[in-house]
Symmetry: C2
Subunit: 506 residues, 2 copies
């Protein structure tokens, strides 16, 4: 494999030339039924990726395919799956895919089969979750657990929280939920204090999540919680489990009811499919729900091996993003899910993308001369329509958009007003927005005129369920990975979140 | 008053020249104790605005003062306070300041004194809230109300929700809270279904908020809720109040227990200090808490009348933002509150700023040739430190930052670990981040090197209480207003959120 800077590829020069000659993409002329039919690609979990409303024609797609080939994106993905050291900064393997499937060679580290390790931990926490859910394991006051509360920050918080919220309504509607989940993350003491004040402590199982076992915020919040448990006359060793690495001070520690393990080959923001997300989701919804989520992610990982960019949604999404970032010059991307269940999914993607690709040096530490990861932000539609969409429609800059939507609601509890139910209105709004952003709306009053020319893509499916959610998560993980390969950066370290800590103990 | 496009002012040309000669601002040399002491400005509610870590020297400040004078920012603010038609697109007065104080001439519209109207509505909903909180007004099942749920979207949701969350912990700690507040906004039926499923309907008072009385999402959610109330055997006319305009179909309607009024002179995103925010906050925390919030906002409005930009935090923040947006070329701003209570405040500011100033035509409808409002996003620290700060520290682009922090926590419930409590750790992290962003951190390993040169400002205070919150809200409202005046756009309409609706009934 060749690892060369993006601007040293011949595809880069060709894309630059193409962009200079590109002019204004004719969205109105291009956004036809036949293009919509053609510019779609099946994803795992029953989802579909549509790029009909992106500013890219056949010629650009061909150049992006060349770029994919020249930067050997698939070979690099396969090398990662086979356990090569792809986190060059920290000299580590990158193995989050292995937490949900095994697509490469067996990965052995110091004689240990890592895939088997991940699977055995999955089995262990699944069995543990079953015992908690059945009431076989109880709190120190002899009551079954009715709630879980995860103590963790960054990747131990945003991903698991977003996924929990994404499945909460589905699980209630399908009678899967047993325990409500809560999250404590911020070192701001008001966070832990408010969560603890609202919890039935004698029925709550806390999940302490820190890979290193040294995260300042998480350890402070652990002691905060232990203090509350003690004051309530409860034995914290019966109310807390740990998710950590085997070498951390939290491992095999009698202070915890049980411990489940991860390792340094799965970064925090990629850990939702490991024990970091697995414990809380399995406790809340049951291990079989988490298994469905993993299956959706594993299927997405498999589809990401496809060489043809028009059949590989994650790869195509990555390439179109680079086209927009480096050649059309858009410095941000909005993620707009038309699904209240995905209310915190943009915050997870914000971490996933900006922490992975917000880098100014390449994988060997040389500064790069081109833009890398964009700013990512978003809120659910239709809420955003009544808020910041103003700038997206009529601001002076163009913000590319990633829409997400579903045909059916999760709870299937709806009301019909003016001959349509709310879910139908939600979908109609989504469709109208895509068209308005792309084609604009002419009006003689310039204040009411929408120029259009705002590109978007759409991921849609039947209903947001565990498999669809697993597919969605893996899609973005793989998109970010491919973009990192294109930019020749290391998407798997995060010096920018590790260094700027208070220098002296506060 | 002169209304001229920004690029036609002489200050614009001077700032362009200054930017070209500006080079790299020497943060390390400049961020001295004496600069920190000098570059601060008192705000209302006990807050302080610090711009020590902004890339601006005496010369730039002088040019910004010239710009303020030349664009007659204070005269325009006064004209707005006096009731001139400043919402030129919709030909309306702009009177949200009048909902918390009277700084200009009495505003009379069709013989009606608008200030008196706002005050009388404030008195009416304050009296109503007292009766609900005392149990004098009860639900149809004869139970006192224990919860309120606001049904509204956009400005009827984001601001009130952010403010409710901002005061919830403070109010509990001060024994002010009586009713828990919930919010239903999205037309996605899973939103209303989930909120209703978790509420004690027989003890819940719903607040229906729609100025026009025709908002599609809000009316769909109203019927959803009424259906649930009916199925629970409850009389919706005893469980719902309306906040609307006097000309809306919701006004004086026996379907509601009571109605409180606003008018077209207060835009949705500016309505938090009117009945839109006032009803829910007064019901949840009591009218005296809402009065404290209004007093903080009114004091901030008064301070915003100061001509000297170094003594007017909102004006200076606006000017520094324009310096960064139009001359240093930064297309976004991150809002990072070191306060879990402000978890949704960035989402409100995102609406406030992007909906107000995401405009491509000037106040008379001509397209402008310069950048207007930036993209605004943010999450609370320290959470963000473990997430997207990677890009802020080490990405290829510079993102200006607005920090917010407080000396004391709201709940005053804390734990001491390693000789410091969590609140102290929170503040130490904030201080360390400001320094790291500005000065960087040298490291021989380029992957661990922080270049610095990332500008930020800081708003800080003793504790987040109602007065501080009112000051904070008004600060950003006034900042956005001043920026709109500088750009010569209309910050008070929102055609971009009104037009792109489904064209046919879905």
């Amino acid at each position: 494999m060749n690892f060369i800077n993006f601007d040293k590829t011949s595809a880069y020069g060709e894309l630059q030339k193409a962009a200079a000659a590109f002019g204004n993409f004719d969205f109105s002329g291009n956004l036809t039924a036949s293009r919509v039919e053609k510019c779609r690609c099946d994803m795992a979990g029953g989802l579909v990726y549509s790029w009909a409303a992106k500013a890219a024609d056949e010629k650009i797609l061909a150049l992006l395919q060349n770029l994919s080939n020249e930067q050997e994106l698939l070979a690099k993905y396969k090398a990662l799956l086979d356990g090569e050291i792809m986190n060059t900064g920290e000299k580590r393997k990158v193995l989050h895919h292995l937490s949900r499937g095994e697509l490469g060679k067996p990965v052995i580290e110091n004689g240990k089969n890592i895939g088997e390790f991940y699977r055995s931990e999955l089995e262990r926490f699944s069995a543990f979750a079953r015992k908690v859910r059945s009431g076989e394991i109880q709190g120190s006051a002899g009551k079954p657990f009715s709630a879980v509360a995860q103590i963790g920050i960054g990747g131990s918080d945003l991903g698991p929280r977003a996924l929990y919220l994404a499945l909460e309504n589905w699980a209630e509607a399908e009678h899967k939920q047993t325990l409500k989940a809560h999250f404590i993350s911020n070192v701001d003491p008001d966070d832990a204090a408010a969560v603890c004040a609202a919890l039935p402590l004698d029925e709550t199982l806390f999940i302490l999540v820190s890979k290193s076992g040294t995260t300042q915020e998480t350890l402070a919040n652990e002691l905060f919680v232990k203090d509350k448990l003690a004051k309530a006359g409860l034995d914290s060793a019966k109310h807390m489990i740990a998710v950590t690495s085997e070498t951390s001070p939290l491992a095999r520690n009698p202070a915890y009811l049980d411990s489940f393990y991860i390792d340094d080959f799965i970064g925090g923001r990629y850990s939702s499919s490991s024990a970091v997300g697995g414990c809380v989701l399995s406790l809340a919804f049951g291990p079989e729900v988490f298994a469905g989520f993993l299956a959706g992610a594993a299927d997405a990982d498999k589809l990401a091996l496809e060489q043809d960019i028009t059949k590989n949604a994650a790869l195509l999404d990555a390439l179109l993003g680079v086209w927009e970032r480096n050649f059309l010059g858009y410095p941000y991307t909005a993620v707009l899910p038309y699904s209240q269940a995905l209310s915190r999914f943009p915050a997870h993607l914000q971490q996933l993308d900006m922490e992975s690709n917000g880098k100014r040096v390449n994988r060997t530490g040389q500064p790069v001369d081109y833009s890398t990861g964009p700013v990512v932000f978003g809120e659910p539609g239709t809420n955003g329509q009544h808020s910041f969409y103003q700038l997206l429609h009529q601001g002076t800059d163009i913000v590319p958009i990633q829409f997400i939507g579903f045909i059916e609601s999760q709870r299937r509890d709806d009301v019909t007003v003016d001959n349509s139910d709310s879910q139908t209105k939600l979908k109609a709004n989504l469709a109208a927005q895509i068209t308005a952003f792309a084609k604009g709306q002419k009006n003689e009053n310039p204040n009411k005129d929408f120029p259009g020319g705002r590109p978007s893509s759409l991921i849609y499916g039947k209903r947001l369920d565990p498999r669809a959610l697993g597919s969605l998560l893996a899609h973005f993980e793989n998109k970010v990975m491919f973009q990192g390969f294109i930019w020749n950066i290391n998407s798997f370290d995060q010096e920018g979140v590790q260094q700027a800590k208070p220098r002296t103990p506060p």
